[in-house]
């Protein structure tokens, strides 16, 4: 297990290094980022000042080294809009965004997997069809439109839930619903398909033949085997979840990393964007590591294959 963990950690660091380098190159290789990101008609004097402020007049290798040195030192520069250190701006918001992501992930798995199992086991009945109908709707509605619908229904019309902010448990309900609908829907469909494959296997018949009750057959023998490909899917969906969170945070004024990044993209806040991208990448990589660990716990063969 330790060797497995070490291998995953090493791979995670390599991934982060690649992403950081891609970000570094992407913002520089296509020309001077100042020309793209600063307002049109910047006078030559301010342009020069900007370029030397960001060290963009240095050779690429020097820039790359100082990029890593500043990362290491926590010297991330000043955000252009807020005029505060980038690491302070992010420190205030990272926790809120992570808690939203984790809540969404928890809700997605808690609802998606059992509903998928139900849709497979009772595929010919009202129950299975009700689940599929809900999954179908969740899959096809744009999450931004769903967010507005939820706001209108539960906040403006029914007055049950707060429309903006992130203070209490009540604040989580709508963003988590809007964000998880697509993922619950896809998890239901995938769990259902995976379960249907498993239900027809010989070992299911054997489990019944040796006298196990139906819930034990389905949960212990069926679900455990069906889950392995499902966990892979959860891992693959994490990036989509993180991108979706950006939009949802904006709609619900979540004050997280997502709406910070949208604002920074609109107003070309280059220091915030550059490090925001790295933070988002870190989140995805760490969540993938967690998914991998769950994966190896569910299926010992994964660990042995490494």
């Amino acid at each position: 297990m330790l060797a497995y963990l070490a291998a995953r950690l090493a791979r995670m660091l390599v991934t982060l290094w690649v992403i950081a380098t891609v970000v570094f190159l992407a913002t520089r290789a296509t020309g001077n980022p100042i020309d793209f990101l600063m307002p049109e008609g910047l006078d030559a004097e301010s342009r020069r000042a900007m370029i030397s402020y960001f060290g963009l007049d240095q050779p690429l290798a020097t820039q790359y080294l100082s990029f890593w040195r500043s990362l290491w030192d926590g010297e991330w520069g000043l955000g252009l809009i807020e005029r505060r250190p980038v690491n302070v701006i992010f420190a205030e918001r990272v926790g809120r965004s992570l808690s939203l992501l984790l809540a969404t992930l928890t809700v997605t798995i808690t609802f998606g997997v059992p509903l998928g199992v139900a849709a497979a086991v009772w595929r010919k009945s009202v129950l299975g069809n009700a689940v599929l109908l809900a999954a179908f709707l969740g899959y096809a509605i744009p999450n931004f439109i769903l967010a507005i619908l939820l706001l209108l229904t539960f906040s403006f019309s029914l007055n049950w839930l707060p429309s903006a902010g992130s203070g209490t448990v009540l604040h989580y309900i709508m963003p988590v619903m809007a964000l998880s609908a697509f993922f619950i829907a896809s998890l239901v469909r995938y769990t259902r398909n995976s379960m249907l494959d498993v239900l027809s296997q010989d070992y299911m018949r054997t489990a019944r033949a040796k006298g196990l009750g139906e819930p034990a057959v389905i949960l212990r023998h069926g679900l455990r085997n069906a889950l392995v490909p499902v966990i892979t899917v959860i891992g693959l969906q994490m990036t989509t979840l993180v991108s979706g969170a950006v939009v949802i945070e904006t709609v619900f004024s979540w004050n997280g990393v997502g709406d910070l990044l949208v604002g920074a993209t609109m107003r070309c806040d280059y220091p915030v964007l550059q490090f925001g991208v790295l933070i988002v990448a870190c989140a995805v990589v760490v969540i993938n590591l967690i998914v991998d660990l769950i994966y190896s716990a569910a299926d010992p063969r994964v660990r042995l294959a490494e």
Partner: protein, 282 residues
């Protein structure tokens, strides 16, 4: 489809599940019902308390729909969304089909490395890609062009589509194409005439996936298009929220216009989808 009826109700486990599932279906349907009702309301009593779940007939009419459909920008948004989605689906399938085939059949180290790189690119969220794509689009003069949004969509649709189609090709026995080759078809002929019809369900699942993520895209359209009439319907709907008085009935009508195409596309291909067991990843 409903042949089993309520026979599982003898099992208490199933009763709890049924209540839960019906509750979930109701929760999924309530906002949709609300969307339809509000888009049909003529008055401003939308936010009145208590909410009228069943509004009086006198409060209903097609005013909002008439207003929305007569706005030239709404037609432009729908057109943009349709163009971007059609372009994304077509190009994603054109790129991912040969890529998935090559990854499935080519067992060289290069193919394995390419496969790993494609899967690793799924690790990079669109949030990370949007800034480099913005910079690239600007230097290529594609800013405010639907082409830029298509390229943005492809950046994350192609890796997953390739992965899905590789799995589909993996599931086909090699004997199938060997027989085709012996009978005188070339590799391309075998791919197009023998293999593709056999993976039709996976192609449909992939098309639905790309359709939905492209049609529902907010991030790329919001960043790469300038707004006004040149944006997509999802982003366009958001512009109603920025107005001084929000016309909820019009917003809901636009929201329905933004939702319906996905539902229709999904329904059209649902026959294919149910046969794609084990090949779709979403």
């Amino acid at each position: 489809m409903m042949s089993g009826g309520f026979s599982e109700l003898r099992d208490p486990f199933a009763v709890v599940g049924l209540v839960f599932a019906l509750g979930l279906a109701a929760a999924a349907l309530l906002p949709i019902y609300w969307m339809v009702v509000i888009s049909l309301r003529v008055d401003d009593a939308i936010l009145s308390w208590p909410p009228q779940l069943i509004p009086p007939a006198s409060a209903l009419g097609l005013d909002a729909w008439r207003a929305v459909l007569s706005e030239p920008r709404v037609a432009a948004w729908l057109m943009n969304s349709a163009m971007i989605t059609a372009g994304s689906v077509t190009l994603a399938l054109l790129v991912a089909t040969p890529a998935g085939y090559a990854l499935s059949r080519g067992k060289t180290p290069e193919a394995a490395a390419a496969g790993a790189a494609i899967l690793a690119s799924k690790l990079i969220p669109a949030t990370v890609l949007v800034m480099p794509i913005y910079v690239l689009a600007r230097s290529a003069g594609l800013l405010n062009s639907p082409v830029a949004v298509v390229l943005g969509n492809l950046s994350f649709a192609v890796p997953l589509a390739t992965y899905l189609l590789k799995n589909a090709f993996d599931a086909l026995p090699r004997e199938l194409e060997e027989a085709a080759l012996i009978d005188g078809l070339g590799r391309l002929g075998a791919l197009v005439r023998i293999l593709l019809p056999n993976i039709a369900p996976a192609l449909a699942a992939t098309a639905v996936y790309v359709f939905i993520v492209s049609w529902n895209d907010f991030l790329f359209a919001r960043t790469l298009l300038s707004g006004g009439t040149s944006t997509t319907v999802t982003v366009g709907a958001a512009s109603y929220l920025g107005e001084i008085t929000v016309h909820w009935n019009r917003l809901m009508a636009v929201a329905m216009l933004a939702t319906l195409p996905c539902l229709i596309f999904f329904l059209l291909l649902s026959g294919q989808l149910t046969r794609s067991i084990g090949t779709d990843v979403h």
